[in-house]
Symmetry: D2
Subunit: 431 residues, 4 copies
């Protein structure tokens, strides 16, 4: 640990005194973190934690990847552009070239890349605006438990009532439909199709259908390939664009670069953010098919569109992990490991069951109280892990994809112990 950081001993009253009440993760995880590498985070007190949260999937390649770090330090040391608006920069050119070569071309995607303010919500807002401007329609179909951000345009598409309530006003322009598997026996895609086809169905002709193939915040609900295909077909027949929000599920989280790769659909618009920079730096973009790339110059703008430091690390990430199939193969193995270990956990809790897909998995343990207790106990034992779902009832594993197998197992061991502890305590309390 560097000398500079070791001497620091933050007076945490600064956070309660001066940081907004909106602060959140720090309430359940009150450590002051100072450094991190790979799948480990370190507190000022010198304690190390295994990170199964990974910046909510923003750190798919772990903390401070040495290659990205070297490239970034090199860039900064040599006075590389830090902020260049949307001017051409060497760093942007290199990122685009790598992204075209290793991501777009092999997947036969003719999409263009639009950069906007470096947040996922902004990518969603831009995608929604492009869909509306392209079609001349307003309505966008979104789904129960979907999470797309909390700025007013995106918030309209976010299902969570707590976040919606934060607006202090009604959000508009979105129709909500049940997600795949939402209600027993309901074919939600068929219902949507029927309502859109019905002259008195009361759903205005949509500009777009927008969904996450796996709902990260919504509780790791995974849409079936069939469902996504049906929506792609419905969108096409009803003149709507298909927006697949891959902000959380993209960049390898499901085992492939895109979450929809094996589904046989080609989305018109793909908002991306979180792990696209590879290093946890803010970067967001929308992939857009050329025919819908209809913004005029700066019609959607933002000062930090195209974060140059992030281009540097993103270019390294693309080259390092996606230039061949090795990483994908590794991910497939780890996905199996995760499934095995989480099945163990699910078996431990009556009624619990596995959620998610790929390396975006979790266990629904029934209540937010239990899930929270398990995560809290795990943290005490050195594992950072969080919940998700409409009742926070899902223990969610979003570890860096680069986490070594042994470390994965170490983390899962802590998790199992935590669950056992909590369950036995609960049992004793109940008796």
């Amino acid at each position: 640990m560097p000398k500079d950081m070791m001497t620091t001993d933050t007076d945490t009253t600064i956070f309660t005194r001066r940081e907004s009440e909106a602060r959140s993760y720090c309430r359940g995880i009150p450590t002051v973190f100072t450094s991190a590498s790979g799948s480990y985070m370190r507190g000022e007190d010198g304690r190390e934690y295994i990170d199964f949260l990974a910046g909510c999937s923003s750190l798919n390649y772990g903390h401070n990847d040495p290659d990205m770090k070297a490239a970034l330090v090199d860039h900064i040391t040599n006075d590389g552009i830090a902020h260049g608006l949307d001017l051409h920069t060497t760093a942007k050119g290199e990122f685009l070239a790598a992204f075209e070569q290793h991501i777009l071309k092999p997947r036969k995607m003719d999409h263009r890349v639009m950069f906007m303010g470096p947040t996922g919500a902004n990518a969603v807002e831009a995608a929604m605006k492009m869909a509306r401007k392209s079609t001349g329609r307003t309505n966008i179909i979104a789904f129960t438990n979907g999470f797309h951000g909390v700025t007013m345009g995106a918030l309209a598409a976010t299902g969570n009532g707590y976040h919606r309530g934060g607006a202090g006003m009604d959000a508009s322009g979105v129709t909500r439909m049940p997600y795949d598997g939402y209600a027993e026996g309901l074919d939600s895609a068929a219902l949507l199709d029927q309502m859109l086809s019905d002259a008195s169905g009361g759903i205005d002709a949509p500009a777009a259908i927008m969904l996450e193939t796996i709902q990260g915040e919504g509780g790791l609900n995974a849409a079936s390939t069939e469902f996504v295909q049906k929506l792609a077909d419905i969108a096409k027949r009803h003149g709507a664009l298909l927006i697949l929000d891959d902000i959380q599920a993209g960049c390898g989280r499901t085992g492939k670069f895109f979450s929809f790769e094996d589904m046989g659909v080609m989305p018109d618009l793909v908002p991306m953010a979180k792990s696209i920079s590879g290093f946890g730096l803010p970067l967001a973009m929308v992939l857009v098919r050329p025919q819908y790339d209809i913004f005029g110059p700066a019609e959607h703008n933002g000062t930090f569109r195209g974060n140059t430091h992030a281009f540097v690390t993103a270019r390294v990430a693309i080259g390092k992990f996606w230039s061949d199939k090795a990483f994908e193969a590794e991910l497939a193995e780890k996905a199996t490991l995760i499934e095995t270990r989480l099945t163990e956990l699910a078996d431990m809790v009556p009624g619990a069951y596995l959620k998610g897909r790929g390396l975006m998995r979790g266990v629904d343990v029934g209540t937010g109280e239990l899930a929270g207790a398990i995560c809290a106990r795990a943290f005490e034992n050195g594992l950072i892990i969080e919940t998700s779902g409409n009742e926070d009832q899902v223990v969610k594993v979003l570890a860096p994809l680069t986490t070594p197998v042994s470390l994965f197992n170490k983390g899962f061991d802590i998790l199992m112990d935590a669950a056992r502890d909590v369950l036995s305590t609960t049992k004793i309390a109940a008796e």
Copy 2:
């Protein structure tokens, strides 16, 4: 120039092939930039440009400030946290402590700092939401030529029709009023007061009055102290919050840290972004008085809220430039220089006149055509400078505040020559 970068020779077709049509600055300034320091930017071709644009005021302390650079490299080298959600980090603690000590306390501000997705628009959205949730009202008063961002909530408050058109739907929740000095003889604040006081005035009771004290994108229109004071008073009497959007005008741009410092008003909410990181890195925040800090944990959230690298540089920036009065004194002198030189320019063009305040100045030359021609010619001669205003008719100077006097003069010399060239050509063409 580092070896790595020298060897690069970007194939610019990647931008036309794969970057969205929304790209903008690069159209008028087609150079591929690779490095920058202080007030200079360098192209791949080795050419240097004086930068009078400064990332639209995101680089108030110039490019790659050596002290920030050193701290950032040190942080990265030592595996300092890159992405920490909204967990406590040493870097955040140090920034908050510096911001409290050097900025908030001396100005007797009890505000808290809320971090959100690192864009100015997101800060505006958060401020609007807090105002609405705090007051239980929807309506926000915004002004002609105001620019607050292009996500749906902020866009409602943005006057520019081109940006508004990009949404493909109506934005709601905002009432537009004429800005200070908008129409000859009109006391716009008095009109607002009358309409709000009138039981049939037809303007719903507002949650907030929101404005920039100087409208950066709107053409460097500077509100008088009297106008801002009247609005503060109107807000108070009508139960509305006062939001001063200091995204572009803050961080020293007017000669003081905040643009409103000498106005005798205390805003309830202050969205900040652009130069707050000091280094051009994405960071945004809202200063909020404790009584309006009403979001619950993560009620307004975002993955990149609190960009840790940006905290590192922001802490250095605050300590270096705002721990005593030296920088302010320097800015006062430079403001005078800018005024003198721009008066020269204004005198050159019939009907032209000075706009703005402090180091956020420009000259309205009457038409966007002329302003654009002058900027284009200046760029040919090595000066990066842009226009603003509802017709792009204002030649705008947003140089790094740290630009040495001699370099300021060098830049202005290029600008004067460019204007002279363009005017003589125009004159010849007219004859």
Copy 3:
């Protein structure tokens, strides 16, 4: 026929020359009507038509009922008030007394009567506003194929896309759900309950659930008692009001005064119009439980609120038809007759089936083309009858409730003949 009317021979070019293109029924039924009585309408050419449309259920007691007529002529002759704003008038007092005695009290309804502009849409607007103001919520749940009017507030709740398109802008404040029996196997009430109960269901807490128990314009879809009860329960549990729009289905149309009488539910708000005046005169009102009667004086107003002439006839109608159970008994018999005869029709058309309930019945013949052809042929033979449904595929019988049995049969005979003709022609054409 009076001399005055007999001499008239209207030049119908006045309609094409000066009446708006929005005119509608006159296109399919181009006769110029001059007088009417009971279940007959008469054209200027002296021809008589049996009326199975009854002003879309506005003439439940037939045309020019002699008792109402006498009372109205008496009122006018004696200079009774014609227009009295919302002043107390003898006529209003008598209507309210009769309505209390014969309608509200026997049904144990503590509702108050609110008068507004004399249109059903206005009654719906008032009900929606009261629900929103009472609950402090915006969202109102409405249903596929619902029709509640075309002014902006009501239009948001109307499912029909053609009508919605007329607004030229988006309507807001309403969430659409599938009506009872909309999709095979779908328990729509359960789905609504689940989405409202889900913290991330994405449906904002509703001010009201609003429906017609039988959708008149939507194709005579009849909700089951179970569905309406479930919605009443959902409304109660989720803090929403229950609005039963009885504009078309009320005033005896289903066999009872209210369409919901035998359902074991007590709606909070009941918009009424159409047959409430009894004579076809414009009158509209909302029944509202006292705790939701929250408008201040004239907070919802309108010049023609409380049409005095209509009070005169409405009072007679209430006394004549609803002071004992005779009329109900008569209606039960006629309902059986209608069912029998329409079953005949349904049996004639392959795939056709009966729709509706009580004396609000029809047959879905599969296509709007066929339904339209049958109605057109019937008209040629002296029967006025119309279609409804999202594709106009339902032949709809809305005869005056007072139509004598023999005349009902006469009308049905014409209808059967028309269907036979059309079907044989179609069959021939197909061969």
Copy 4:
């Protein structure tokens, strides 16, 4: 007085027990009215009142005009159509012919007549929809103190905060501008023009500019010819339609049939209601230029569109009062009388001044308290008269236009006495 009515003695508890709290005029004028003729209304107690309210200008030709009465009784007696949806009827044809001959043709108006639900608000809603659908734009410019109705579409254009608050949600689609003469020294039309012409003016391109030439509910503010002409010109230049809402100011109220007749403008859309039936019966319509008559059949509909009884009386009214210039000449004289007598009143109250135009006049007495007291005292002495304005500070005279000069004077005498009484009492109280 007819026997039937004489014997009635209404138990007024029925109103408090069963009529909604929204009832209004009856609170200040608690008499139970039973009959009326000409400019007199009669209570059940046999007392007669001079009517200076005239159903808020719905009874411009007085109560129970003998010619209209005769025609209506004749129509009813002979089983004339009472309710005919929008079918062709003799009555409608005759009305349209008379309206074309005596109103439209002489004024060179090519407008068509659209009938809708018989309320002014519905006429306004239809006009707004036609403007939006015709232009493909949403925004409608409306004015401070404008009143256009309380259904959601119209309410957005209504300035009154009390009425707006009744909606329980935000109304949208309208931009509010100051009316003519609203703020001292302000050229409101010029301000609108500037904001619309400004690319960053922040007012979306309007579908229409909508105003009353005299604001009836807003306090009898009369727009100057110059202002209306400027708006007509602005509308034309900015691609917007001009909607002149003549619901209250039309039908002779200003001395001419339309309030805008002498202004040299030709509105695109003219909502009409109130006195168009002549007899106080509900009827509403929009005059629309053929190019904007863009609704498809029943795209905007309503059961009571085209109230047949109202057509009968309206036809008589047009023929009786508007077939030559005699009535206009009579109105000019009465307008002078009203001005003279109200000037008397204005002179009595310090600071009071005359409002309105033609026979739509009043006196602003400074406070709603004083205006209310004067009207209350006048009522005690047998004169029905009401207030208007944003603070109810205007004593408003809306007498039947047919009021004989002597009766006008008798009414004014009562008013003057009432004012004198109130002022002396107030003075005594103050001493």
